[in-house]
């Protein structure tokens, strides 16, 4: 980027290049490793190695499969929904070789043999839930699952992981070795996997390593500087229909939002983002020829409650208490004022369809209502002392009493572990704290750089279980794959169920979303959890507010699942 320094030559409008504010990706192998699942790696990966299926959420497609971009036709079901037969479309690798089931098989062999090193592996999930994997011919293969899954779920949340990999180039265990059929045995697969992983850990050679020259995506890697700029150029041999329209994409990392915004304002990048606090700059940016557009994510945002906390867990277990806490969160106003309209209330676990800007406020089960919250507390035996300390007055398990395990005099004092570095989050908790204080609920805000790291799922006996509430949703707490089911979030013992919420009814409903083909399962699950409050629902911020040159076409719609399809971009 020698010439990108000065304000004149920055940006690339009118040329065939676009410069994008983008964190430097650091994983290239299409089998993601734990810790390398960040969005930038996914986008980067897609640009070079398309996955078997690509999704769109506009509701037009079957199983949300994007028929154009995907490398295969939608699966054909048989065997009572247990067997899915998939036919590949005609595609070629960048070296001209066709993409065949061998490449799928290669991928499958590698992940099965190395599932413990695969980021997406969950015990019982893919590939454990595959009873049979069979290749029919060059273009067709079929999968038989152990149970009959809800196909939409299986396609969206399991098959999304499959990425064909160039067996004819990669099936070896050292750079000099000849390509063979090594991966077909588990030991061989492990060797190949180790070799590929090692290559993927050698950032410096990303642009030069022969391995990564064989790609299936619309882009090829031209230049790669670890932690620095990455340049993608159009892949001339791209076989897909969505051929790149630009010749070059420059991905530029920034050290922080302020630095990025300064550069954006100076007009040095074509696609960047506007930090929340600077949204009022929209008109200025417009005057500089930018379009400002919020990027809504397929996400929900919530405040995790630690049901296993030895002290406050008993409190959180009381539905009335969760309800009254929820009623103190003024989602609409916070979204409007603090997030400057770039957030929308979350009302339940299933995100609203893209573009509808969140669930309707009216649709939330518990809307902002401090008076009702107070009433709720008082009716359960709490002595509410506004701006003081509310305590339990009548302990006991009766309907008008505080509830099980709550002793007389128990105060309502919580500590929320939140994130540093997000002005809006800080303000949001200032507001919530203020609302709670009015009911005598004392909220202490503790900001840490990485709240997830210090608020793990835990047993009550563990020292790490002392946290009360955790927030990690400054950019959305959870991004779903295409199918927004809650098996990873709210099911008992689910990996991301940090608060150890457990409700048999919820478990049942979640299972239903996975196994019954019934369309209404998802809604039932949503409605139940929206009401039961496994977490406190919080305003769901947009993924980011993008700003791009108005001349840059094809940026919109921005993919709710946070993919970016640079090949669609073009200059007017």
């Amino acid at each position: 980027g020698g010439d990108s320094g000065s304000s004149k030559s920055g940006g690339s409008e009118g040329k065939d290049t676009a410069t994008v504010a983008f964190r430097t990706p650091n994983w290239i192998l299409p089998i993601s490793a734990p810790g390398f699942t960040q969005g930038e790696n996914a986008i980067f990966g897609q640009a070079l190695y398309r996955s078997l299926y690509q999704y769109k959420l506009d509701g037009t497609a079957q199983y949300n499969i994007d028929p154009q971009r995907s490398m295969a036709e939608p699966p054909v079901l048989s065997n009572g929904g247990k067997t899915l037969t998939i036919t590949l479309k005609d595609n070629t690798w960048s070296d001209g070789k066709p993409v065949t089931t061998k490449d799928i098989q290669f991928w499958y062999d590698l992940v099965t043999a190395n599932k413990d090193k695969w980021a997406s592996y969950r015990a019982g999930g893919f590939p454990d839930n595959i009873a049979e994997w069979s290749v029919k011919d060059e273009k067709t293969f079929s999968i038989t699952t152990t149970k009959a899954y809800n196909t939409a779920w299986f396609v969206d949340n399991q098959l999304n992981r499959i990425t064909p990999m160039p067996q004819h180039a990669w099936d070896k265990d050292s750079a000099g070795a000849a390509v063979g059929n090594l991966a077909s045995t588990p030991e061989g697969a492990r060797k190949v996997f180790d070799f590929l992983t090692a290559a993927s850990k050698d950032l410096k050679t990303y642009a030069s390593n022969e391995l990564w020259k064989v790609t299936s995506g619309p882009w090829k890697l031209d230049k790669y500087v670890p932690s620095g700029e990455v340049t993608l150029t159009a892949q001339p041999n791209y076989s897909g229909v969505d051929k790149p329209k630009l010749a070059k994409i420059v991905l530029r990392p920034f050290t922080g939002d302020d630095a990025e915004f300064n550069v954006l304002r100076a007009g040095d990048i074509d696609y960047g983002y506007v930090p929340a606090a600077n949204l009022s700059q929209e008109s200025y940016l417009k005057s500089k020829g930018y379009t400002v557009s919020p990027w809504y994510g397929w996400s929900v945002t919530y405040l995790q409650l630690n049901f296993n906390n030895p002290k406050t867990g008993v409190l959180f277990k009381q539905p009335y208490l969760r309800q009254s806490l929820q009623m103190l969160i003024d989602q609409p106003t916070i979204s409007k004022v603090i997030w400057s309209g770039t957030a929308a209330p979350t009302c339940g676990p299933v995100p609203a369809k893209p573009g509808t800007n969140g669930t309707d406020a009216a649709g939330c089960v518990y809307s902002f209502d401090p008076a009702k919250a107070k009433e709720l507390l008082e009716s359960h035996g709490w002595k509410v002392t506004p701006d003081g300390q509310t305590t339990c007055q009548t302990p006991g398990t009766g309907p008008n009493q505080c509830g099980e395990g709550i002793a007389a005099g128990t105060p309502l004092t919580f500590t929320v572990t939140s994130q540093t570095g997000f002005a809006a989050t800080t303000k949001m908790f200032a507001e919530i704290k203020s609302q709670m204080a009015k009911l005598g609920i004392q909220l202490t805000i503790k900001e840490v750089p990485d709240s997830v790291a210090v608020t793990p799922a835990c047993k009550p006996t563990e020292a790490t279980c002392s946290w009360d509430m955790s927030f990690f949703g400054s950019q959305g707490s959870w991004y779903y794959p295409a199918f927004a089911s809650g098996e990873r979030l709210f099911a008992t013992g689910a990996p991301v169920n940090l608060g150890s919420y457990s409700n048999p009814e919820a478990d049942q409903l979640i299972e239903a979303t996975q196994f019954s083909g019934d369309e209404s399962a998802l809604k039932a699950y949503n409605d139940f959890l929206a009401k039961d409050l496994p977490v406190l629902w919080m305003p769901n911020p947009v993924f980011q507010v993008s700003a791009y040159r108005s001349g840059l076409q094809g940026v919109e719609p921005q993919d709710p699942m946070n993919f970016m399809y640079f090949q669609d971009w073009s200059w007017k």
């Binding site: 606090a277 939140s418 507001e431 704290k433 204080a437 750089p449």
Partner: protein
């Protein structure tokens, strides 16, 4: 950050022979005060400090604002609107009231951290310098080691370990800012130890502890106090840097550093009252302490001088 306190060696003030023969009998303190007052910048600094501290600590008695409850209906009000002379911030707190509150934190943290650092450093340095030998070597190597780690890095790590709160900030900053005073005092103790009046006292049969109590500490105190002043200034800056890195005190507590770094995000929003007032306040208070330190140095220096 680079600290001024270390950059300035004591003894740099040009001497002014005080005419000893007929000098009126004046106490050291009185004379120190006079010299201090002759330094115009020092007076400006003192005035500034008194003014800022007065506004922050006494202001709220006269100017009542609600710094507890947010008011999302009245965010980002421009100065003058609806009875907010300096407008309101992003959650509807009155900015002027917030400045007072933030000033209290900044000043308290600055003073306390400065004093803590000075106390710890003085003790450490005095012991090392006076005991000497391998104890000195060992103690000073520890100081060297910690000094060779950039202080901001250390603050960052510590701030990540504990939740930043006012007492914690004090401890964190104090825990690492003591290195400067430790070195300084150790150097001072080394020279003081060989001063003739200490020798004279030893010649009378005095003990080491008496030397420390009666001679070394009182004579090092000037250096220590001057350094403490600079430490306070630096501590206030450190709080600002920590806030900038997102490690400041969480709301609704406020401090100028945090307000300033929050204000940075508002740079382009036209909400200038969120950016410049805290920025100027920090600059003024740090400047004030530096000026005061300069003046104090003169005051402590001159009285050591004979014509």
């Amino acid at each position: 950050m680079t600290t001024l306190s270390e950059a300035v060696r004591p003894g740099a003030v040009p001497d002014q022979p005080a005419d000893a023969s007929e000098a009126p009998v004046r106490g050291l303190w009185r004379q120190g005060v006079v010299v201090f007052c002759e330094n115009r910048l020092a007076l400006v600094g003192l005035g500034l400090f008194v003014l800022l501290a007065g506004v922050c600590f006494l202001g709220p008695l006269f100017y009542h604002t609600d710094q507890v409850h947010t008011d999302l209906q009245a965010v980002h009000l421009a100065p003058g609107e609806k009875g907010h002379p300096l407008g309101t911030d992003g959650v509807g707190y009155d900015q002027l009231g917030r400045l007072m509150l933030g000033g209290q934190t900044s000043i308290i943290v600055g003073l306390a951290a400065g004093i803590l650092a000075t106390a710890v450093g003085t003790l450490w340095g005095a012991v090392a310098g006076f005991v000497g030998g391998w104890v000195d070597s060992a103690m000073m190597r520890v100081v060297d080691a910690m000094m060779s780690i950039p202080s901001l890095f250390l603050f960052m790590l510590l701030a990540a370990i504990v939740t930043p709160s006012v007492p914690m900030l004090i401890v964190i900053i104090g825990a690492f800012a003591w290195l400067g005073p430790a070195r300084l005092v150790r150097g001072e103790a080394l020279t003081l130890r060989s001063r003739e009046y200490v020798q004279a006292m030893r010649g009378m049969g005095g003990t080491g502890s008496r030397a420390v109590r009666r001679h070394i500490v009182p004579n090092a105190i000037g250096t220590v106090i001057v350094n403490a002043t600079f430490q306070v200034a630096d501590a206030i800056l450190y709080v600002a840097y920590l806030s900038f890195l997102g490690l400041g005190v969480p709301p609704p507590a406020a401090n100028w550093g945090g307000m300033l770094s929050d204000g940075l995000a508002d740079t382009y929003s036209g909400h200038w009252w969120l950016l410049y007032p805290p920025g100027i306040a920090i600059i003024l208070i740090v400047l004030a302490f530096n000026f005061i330190g300069d003046g104090l140095r003169d005051a402590f220096e001159v009285r050591l001088r004979r014509r």
